[in-house]
């Protein structure tokens, strides 16, 4: 479990590379920081309040405040592992879920508005949804199956992403100019490390190093493999070439699809599930690019479509012979599909509505997006005062005693670019 927790934590930097490679070079640092920064404030918010709302004993809708600031979360066992470790493991899930949303608003959402948003989102949206499924809430009572977070993580993040993309609005040149990935090798590196980390995500969700963990591990290997194979075939048939960005995307989609099912289905089913799961996301991606919806890095197609497909297919392939309990359609329990569908719709509706409310409230106190001028210059310079790729030409060292000049100049630049001083 220690290793699984570390593996899931590694997924967030991996996501930074996956996303960072897909944007233009002038926004590379900003995009990567949107993932990285979740490691800080989101983790703190989780320890202070989020964990308690999600996992402290409470009602069907939300936990309670009894674990606030980790009171009573100590060495005592929580299931098979120390309570502290369980809390940390769950914390790494909260971090990556919040970071996933950033893909829909990269290259135009203001960084401080994003920061405020993800912290609020983890408390208001992630914590209750995690409670519903894993904290003894009403979706658990209903019998919804979500092994490692198809609904809690992926459908949840994707619904928020969809709403965020709509509320923040498209990039100014979206649909007018091509906006190409600036570093596809970064994206492939990110996809690779995400897969590595996902073994902790799925196998670790067994919460013990036993047979279920081995099953989830195996499925996490073969379902994405089947998705990648299927994706490559569709690429070949449609365009005659297998694309690299497509392959990286396919791996992520396969991982998303197998997430809710990982510990419930047999490995043969995992291959079928991975292969089937490629299709809806592939065509959702193509369809989305033709619309006005600037979900820039396709969070909805990869995580929303993939997560929903995975959740529903879990209701098809769950098999008591492997899961040791829950069963789906192939095991003679067709109604499980409806339960799965209901859980997806409930999470979608709540996440979408609550995200809309958070963003609209934030918009009252701060602008959500940068000005068009700043969009042109790029957010690395304007939001962070750094560049991802600078040769250092023309950089004049400002000595410490002149640093007030630097501050004054920085303020002047902020005003110049339409930010606040």
């Amino acid at each position: 479990m220690l290793i699984s927790t570390a593996l899931v934590l590694l997924m967030t930097p991996a996501l930074a590379f996956f996303y960072g490679g897909l944007v233009r070079s002038k926004n590379a640092l900003n995009t990567m920081m949107m993932s990285f920064v979740a490691l800080g404030p989101v983790a703190v918010a989780w320890a202070l309040v989020g964990y308690s709302l999600a996992f402290a004993p409470g009602g069907p809708v939300i936990g309670s405040l009894s674990y606030v600031a980790l009171q009573g979360v100590g060495m005592q066992p929580q299931g098979t592992i120390p309570h502290l470790l369980f809390m940390s493991f769950q914390g790494t899930f909260a971090i990556i879920t919040a970071a996933l949303i950033s893909g829909a608003v990269v290259e135009r959402m203001r960084f401080n508005a994003y920061l405020a948003f993800v912290v609020l989102w983890v408390l208001v949206v992630y914590a209750p949804v995690a409670h519903w499924v894993w904290g003894g809430g009403f979706l658990a009572t209903m019998g919804a199956l979500d092994f490692a977070g198809g609904a809690v993580v992926h459908v949840n993040a994707a619904s928020a992403a969809l709403v965020a993309a709509l509320v923040v609005g498209p990039r100014k040149d979206y649909g007018r100019h091509a906006m190409l990935p600036h570093n596809v090798p970064f994206t492939m590196l990110g996809a690779g490390v995400l897969w590595f980390g996902w073994f902790g995500f799925n196998a670790g969700s067994a919460l013990t190093a036993g047979t279920t963990a081995a099953l989830a591990f195996t499925n996490t290997l073969f379902a994405p493999a089947a998705t990648l194979a299927t994706w490559a075939v569709i690429d070949l048939v449609r365009g005659g070439r297998v694309t690299a960005v497509g392959a990286a995307t396919a791996i992520v989609v396969g991982l998303v699809v197998v997430t809710p099912a990982a510990g419930y289905i047999g490995p043969g089913s995992a291959v079928a599930l991975g292969a089937l799961g490629a299709v809806p996301s592939y065509f959702a991606l193509i369809y989305r690019a033709r619309t006005k919806l600037d979900d820039s890095l396709d969070v909805v197609a990869a995580h929303g479509t993939g997560g929903a497909t995975g959740a529903i297919l879990t209701g098809v392939f769950a098999d008591a012979a492997w899961s040791g309990g829950p069963s789906g359609l192939i095991d003679g329990n067709p109604t499980q599909i409806l339960t799965q569908l209901a859980s997806v719709i409930i999470v979608m509706l709540y996440s979408g509505t609550a995200t809309f409310a958070i963003l609209k409230l934030l918009a009252l106190v701060m602008p959500l997006r940068i000005s068009g001028r700043v969009e042109g210059v790029g957010m690395d310079v304007t939001e962070h005062g750094e560049e991802a790729y600078t040769g250092g030409d023309g950089a004049i060292l400002v000595s410490a005693k002149d640093s007030y000049i630097a501050r004054a100049a920085a303020d002047a630049v902020a005003v110049h670019h339409g930010g606040r001083p």
Partner: protein, 119 residues
């Protein structure tokens, strides 16, 4: 025959190319350059190191055109590259002594007339 050299903001490049395309200007060269044009320097900070970036990223376009194409080309760049803030760049129109198309050895006006515009 003139050589038009334009220095523009990189973020305006797509607009400039589109405008040139609409003005039926074919054949140009671009390069990424750095320069200073009186705009405010921005400040960057890397751990303890604070620097003023005195050179800004720009794109230089070089376009060889026949005389009656000079004005449409300049107009296209002027309208597409302008944001109204310091740092929008410059357009320079230079005389050319001689120009050759390497493939055919054609000279001057013939050398800068696109193949598609002939016949």
């Amino acid at each position: 025959v003139k050589l038009i050299v334009a220095i523009v903001r990189p973020e305006q490049l797509s607009d400039v190319l589109e405008a040139l395309f609409h003005a039926e200007v074919r054949g140009l060269t671009i390069s990424r350059v750095q320069g200073h044009g009186g705009e405010m320097e921005h400040v960057e900070n890397y751990r303890g190191t604070t620097v003023k970036m005195a050179l800004a990223e720009k794109v230089r376009l070089e376009i060889g055109v026949s005389n009656h194409f000079v004005q449409p080309t300049v107009d296209a760049i002027l309208s597409a590259a302008r944001t109204g803030e310091v740092g929008d760049g410059k357009i320079m129109v230079l005389p050319i002594e001689k120009i050759y198309r390497i493939r055919t050895g054609e000279q001057d006006q013939d050398a800068v007339t696109p193949v598609t515009a002939k016949t």
